[in-house]
Symmetry: C2
């Protein structure tokens, strides 16, 4: 086992072993680009480190020092040497980029003697001391995990005592004093002197980076992004180059195209006389990359050229880091750039048009779930017009979308507010840091005072698809007193409404109405690519015409699930429905149902009109009846009065309907078996509506779906009722209406006996929510109590309610698919329930050969893209 | 399709077509026994009748009259003829005897003219008129479904007006008056005259018998005895013979052996000058069969001879009906006799010893569930001695066993009391009738004032295995005022305690303690046959040493399920267990568990000692924690005080533990994953107990069973805890103890992934209760609300919690068996849960090749027999 690779030994396809950064540094090295030499300690070494309880094996240490020797030869410098000392950076680099989550140490190799040598060699004493004090600070933080604040406090103290504002105004002597104080502080906190031996520094730094794989924020990030904990990180050790050597030095980051819009134009920022950390941290506000042309023209030109080479080589938009050391350009990193979904679509379509990639490649370039960003509401243009004057600030349009919500000032407050039911939240921070990640994930929008387009807030928000406006430098955020003050002195307090436009950078001091997103332009083109490739159809779950319209506009090919019970909650209907529930006789029940019938028929007419020509799948009454009755004595009293029954009778009825395990109780088709009159009413409504709407010229394809069937005889019983009522209505109206009757497969028994059930069912819709509940024996309402513990202990790695459990629940879906087709080769097979909108699950369903998935209207485009990707992967 | 068979055309193997009675009449006819000639209308005709909405097809009617013509030729009599008129009986006869459940019509063919001819021919006017009035009465009841009471009232009226007590004292003229009144009543109630045409009488009678297949009591009987509704009944039409023609005539029923004890001695009763209905109805108390020898010796001798022929022919104890007409013996029916379980065992063992049947045949002769009768408690002999003076009556020992319970006087009152929680009930009736069947099924014992050993009460009670004392003629039962009065004038009221000894006929006016049954004598011999044949082992479910002892004494080969949580309910333990539940820290929990440990260890020691040398399978904590906490505020307050915590804190804790669907909530191994310290404590208790008891010389085989596993990683996690604790204890004690760790398969997912789970599990125990819940999505606590409706509508035919659903749940058991063996060929496979004691389910488990079933201690002998039968059937 080889644990350490020189950059010249690797390539871009070795990302599992070398990490993304290491693999790309190797690739660029072999492309002959100006990459500072170095080597990568592999992810295998990281796993080995954890396996050995946090120690580096002798083999790994030996290999590291062999590579240091090679590096010394190449660079003609020597680690700890005084003639031409080698300083290195030590950076983490996982398979998948986890920006800012793990640790980095720069300027390693420096000590009391080396710093003097550097001072002499560079003839820049201030630069040398600055390097040294930065290194001590980083080493104390990252390796020794000492409190950052101790060192920051010392630093500010000296600045104050010298009456200095900017770091750059500190002299070499001032910095010498800083170094002295830092070392004293280091001894005070650790009881050991600061390590002077560069080899000790290096080994400890490598271990620290390995350790940082498991710091809290990295774990949270992985959990949010579904990155396996088992991967580990690689470590890149690389000769230092300096952007902070004066005015012909600098450092920056740039994208080959605009990561927010996708525009084909170099996009980035730089700082003169700075190290990389200054750009990322967002402490100084950087310059636009285009202005570099005028300042260090040769380096700029070279950089533009290299950026083109890289994009062509990787066939994708690149995110690059560079440093200019005394006029000489170095490329420190390249990777496929993170981008907004909007940019991703434009870039993908542009690259197809530029002939660089195929449509299939384009489809695979965009993560399906990222489309979510484009499907959120934007501001209602009329409401926006009214409130244009309410702009209180304008910052950078760091992550697109529109957000309206209540103002909160810390990640903790955001979490608490969310748990207390506040769903629309805007988080305002001076600047964000990795500790804020959970709150950022909850907030609808993020507002920062400091930091640019590549600041922490901007990068993370884009990754999450959350709207972000950064760098609103005219606002004052006071996190302690929880206020935000505008330049006009207007004060906003916690809970006040604020709105952000992530596409313009505008910040509004009011609530602004939002409207749903639409699909047009590159988005539309891209979705056309997807539909041409996908095999799975995508339908939507919709219970009313307006949801149906959203789904239709987002490209749904019908309604896969209409939950009819949602139609009962309207005031007039719930009254009659409750009358039905408490009725003692069939006649009373029928009378109450007769009152609901006209309403339900109207609802169905609306759905049929929207879905003209497409399937509309209607599930019959499903939930247990007690869900429709009030719970508290107060409410029961009031209802008793309305219904004209005694409190005690109604209370008894409510009690008698209570169940120990309602999920496995009197619900689904069991209701229609006990009360066939409900199925009669629902059939009258569906078929009646269809016949009426047909007369308007609408093409109606009703599919009647019987829920919670566990045995074919249940389906047969209810189907007989449906057929009798429907066929009579059709005959009486001289109609030619065709309709289907099918069932949900949501009980393990139904899956196991799908061959028998298919004798009666013209279609199956897999209710994978319930199927997951029954197969695992997990009550969805209760399982979260212990499932977190399961994730912590790695007993489960994924939430089976989010992504289908292929081994268990998936096996039942597979069995039912095979059995169903055996009986009825043309049986229609689909998924309704949340897995229908999950990319990974869609890939699985595609492999099984299902006909469609149905998901919430807002997830339809995601599902369409996932279906196309599944189709490509399955080729 | 032939619908009607002469007796000479059938044989005993045609019982599906001809019914049991018809097949045996045919068989006896071909044996040359004196059977009155006749024919059988088949069960196919019955199905045809129902299929044609209650009409007899022309074919069937034609065939019936063809057979009437044949019968007329054989008997030289003519239906409706005046020279030598043919009268017939019309009786039901299903595949399986359903005594008293369906209808019978005697003397059919009589009318105003025929009756005179019979009077002349027999020279017995009184006899002829008696036949006629009986026929009118039965026809009105059975065919026209007129109220019995109307005719009974008229009859009593005339008796009163003539000042007559006994029916037999009515003169021919009195009877002529009865007939006249009956015919008037018939017209009054039906608006039509009584049908004089014998052909009309016959066809209507056949239809009425077919109809009686679906009367309420027949349906109830079938449901109780698992007889399919689809079978239908045959109808037997047979020349009448008369037991009521004077003092050399009579009728009786007899068994070739004693049906209560199995003693090899003719056993039966007869009445002189009576028709069969008089015996069965229990209105006159009949004579012992042995006395017939002195009264009509030739007929008796012939009958003894025939009874021997029949027993040898059928190789089983026979239940025969006979009639003697003017000294001539006729056999009207034979069938394998119903018997008590005790008799069944003795007869089976005796027949083996007599060389008549093999051990395998003996095993197949006894219905496994019937052993239940022998496993009920008998009176505690000491308590019985004390209460010997409390005998208030002595009746016939009609059905063995001992019963103590509260007195009730109607089937309805029994049902209501039972539903209100009264479990120990004795039903007292003047005499029982088929309408009482539901109440009889619930009662622990049945007491009647009238009726003999073959009365309705006696026959039904023996069938049900319920203790019965019949014919207590010195008691007065007043069903209206709900009192029972002894000959000494002592009055018992509803709810008072009473005890019955079904083996002696004693009735006690006190509660008497009962003791468990034991296995000895023929029972023991029989069970030895069974064990030699059975492949499946039988273990028992036992949570404490005394239950374990019962199981062991009943032949259990170990404990298949010890539910450890039952050990927590003792006062001291529940206190500490509750402390554990409400603890905030692991340390607090461990402290509380430490207090429970010694108790639990002692329990296990007790179990190990009882099961010396046999497996003891211990399931770790399974139920959700809220089951251990109080529910009402009052109880919570009291507990809060005891625990020294605030009411509100405890209330919040109780609330926080509530679950929507606790069956699918935080329970089973999920508890051990959240609170590993519980598994640690339980392991210390199991292994600690095993090590201590081993030192006493006991052979200990602990099997630790982890419940509710759905994924191998859950099992792995808990198993690691178990192994760590156990192996350390074993090492520390220098013990060689071996133990197994396995799991329950009770979630569909576990069954589907049994191959993975078997990597960690040394045994599987199928928890088919939970598996049935999850596979069907039926909450056992709630499903009864709608399952009755399912049975009514024939959506389900069997309770899946009683008999395993082979198609669905059984498929999962099969899959898991195959997968489990694939991974671990020697994996031990068993069933715990109620299906483990159900014969039909055992047959299925045997077929799958499982190793054992485990059931409640009292069902162990039933399971042993069922296992042997399964083994024979599967050969």
């Amino acid at each position: 086992m080889k644990y350490v690779y020189a950059f010249s030994e690797g390539n871009k396809d070795m990302r599992d072993l070398l990490g993304g950064k290491g693999a790309n540094l190797a690739e660029m090295t072999s492309l002959g680009l100006p990459v500072p030499s170095g080597f990568t300690v592999t992810t295998e070494a990281c796993l080995n480190y954890y396996h050995n309880n946090g120690t580096l094996s002798d083999d790994i240490i030996r290999e590291i020092f062999e590579k240091i020797e090679e590096l010394e030869k190449i660079t003609n410098k020597k680690l700890g040497g005084l003639d031409n000392p080698l300083l290195v950076s030590v950076r983490s680099g996982a398979r998948i980029s986890m920006p800012g989550m793990m640790d980095t140490i720069l300027n390693l190799g420096i000590n009391d003697k080396v710093v003097e040598s550097i001072a002499n060699l560079t003839n820049n004493r201030r630069f040398a001391y600055d390097c040294y004090r930065r290194f001590i600070q980083m080493y104390a933080d990252v390796v020794m995990e000492l409190p950052k604040s101790s060192f920051e406090y010392l630093f500010e103290d000296i600045k104050k005592s010298k009456n200095i504002k900017l770091d750059t105004d500190l002299t070499d002597l001032d910095l010498l004093e800083v170094i002295k104080k830092y070392k004293e502080e280091y001894i005070r906190l650790t009881n050991t002197p600061f390590p002077e031996d560069p080899k000790v520094q290096l080994i400890e730094a490598v271990k620290a980076v390995f350790r940082s794989w498991n710091n809290d924020r990295a774990i949270t990030y992985r959990h949010l992004n579904n990155i396996p904990d088992e991967w580990g990180t690689a470590v890149n050790v690389q000769m230092m180059v300096y952007g902070n050597m004066g005015d012909t030095s600098g450092t920056g980051v740039a994208f080959t195209r605009n990561p927010a819009t996708g525009e084909n134009k170099l996009f980035g920022e730089y700082l003169i006389n700075a190290q990389g950390e200054d750009v990322v941290a967002g402490i100084r506000t950087p310059q636009d990359i285009s202005t570099l042309k005028n300042i260090i023209p040769e380096a700029f030109e070279k950089f533009v050229n290299i950026s083109k080479i890289l994009e062509k080589h990787y066939k994708d938009m690149q995110d690059m880091e560079f440093t200019i050391e005394s006029g000489k350009l170095y490329i420190l990193q390249t990777r496929n750039g993170k981008r907004t979904a909007k940019a991703a679509l434009k870039i993908a379509v542009d690259l197809v048009n530029e002939g660089m990639i195929s449509k299939e490649e384009a489809i695979m370039r965009v993560e399906a779930s990222s489309l979510d960003q484009l499907l959120h509401p934007t501001f209602d243009s009329e409401d926006l017009k009214k409130k244009e004057s309410e702009v209180i600030s304008k910052g950078l349009a760091a992550s697109p979308g529109a957000a309206t919500g209540h103002l909160y000032f810390s990640a903790t407050d955001v979490s608490n507010a969310f748990n207390n039911g506040v769903k629309d939240i805007v988080l305002a921070r001076e600047e964000t840091s990795p500790e804020d990640i959970e709150g950022m994930n909850i907030a609808r929008g993020i507002l920062t005072v400091r930091g640019g387009m590549t600041s922490h807030a901007a990068v993370v928000a884009r990754g999450m698809g959350t709207c972000c406006v950064s760098g609103c430098s005219d606002l004052v955020v006071d996190a302690v007193n929880k206020t935000l003050t505008t330049k006009d002195g207007k004060v906003f307090k916690e809970g006040d409404y604020i709105s952000l436009d992530g596409s313009t950078g505008n910040v509004y001091g009011k609530e602004i109405k939002t409207v749903p997103a639409t699909i047009s332009g590159e988005f539309k083109t891209f979705m056309e690519y997807a539909d041409a490739i996908a095999k799975l159809k995508v339908k939507c779950n919709a219970d009313n015409p307006s949801d149906a319209k959203v789904g239709y506009d987002f490209g749904a090919k019908g309604i896969g699930l209409c939950r009819t019970e949602h139609m009962f909650f309207d005031q007039e209907r719930i009254f009659n429905f409750r009358k039905m529930i408490i009725a003692d006789t069939k006649e009373q029940r029928e009378k109450a149902l007769d009152n609901i019938l006209p309403y339900q028929r109207e609802d169905f007419k609306g759905l049929f009109r929207v879905m003209n020509g497409l399937d509309v799948t209607i599930r019959y009454l499903d939930p247990p009846l007690h869900e429709f009755l009030p719970k508290t004595d107060e409410e029961i009293k009031s209802l008793a009065k309305d219904l004209g029954v005694s409190f005690i009778d109604l209370k008894n009825k409510v009690e008698s309907l209570k169940e120990f395990n309602p999920m496995m109780g009197h619900r689904g088709c069991r209701l229609a078996i006990t009360y066939p009159e409900v199925a009669v009413m629902q059939t009258k409504a569906v078929i009646g509506a269809a016949i009426e709407v047909e007369k308007e010229g609408v093409v109606v394809k009703p599919e009647i779906m019987i829920p919670l069937v566990g045995d074919v005889s249940e389906l047969k019983y209810v189907k007989n009722i449906v057929k009798e009522v429907a066929d009579k209505l059709i005959l009486d109206n001289n109609s030619n209406l065709k309709y289907k009757v099918g069932t949900m497969i949501e009980l393990p028994r139904a899956a196991l006996l799908a061959d028998e059930i298919a004798e009666e069912a013209e279609f199956f819709s897999f209710g994978t929510n319930d199927l997951t509940q029954m197969t695992f024996g997990f009550s969805r309402d209760d399982a979260s109590k212990f499932l977190d513990n399961y994730y912590d202990k790695k007993i489960l790695t994924e939430d089976p309610f989010k992504t289908i459990d292929q081994n268990g629940v998936g096996k039942l879906v597979e069995v039912a698919t095979i059995l169903g087709k055996k009986t009825r080769s043309d049986i229609e097979l689909g998924i309704c329930g949340e897995h229908g909108g999950d990319s990974k699950s869609i890939e699985f369903f595609n492999k099984l050969g299902l006909d469609y998935v149905s998901c919430s209207p807002y997830r339809v485009p995601i599902a369409r893209l996932a279906a196309a990707q599944a189709s490509i992967k399955n080729r």
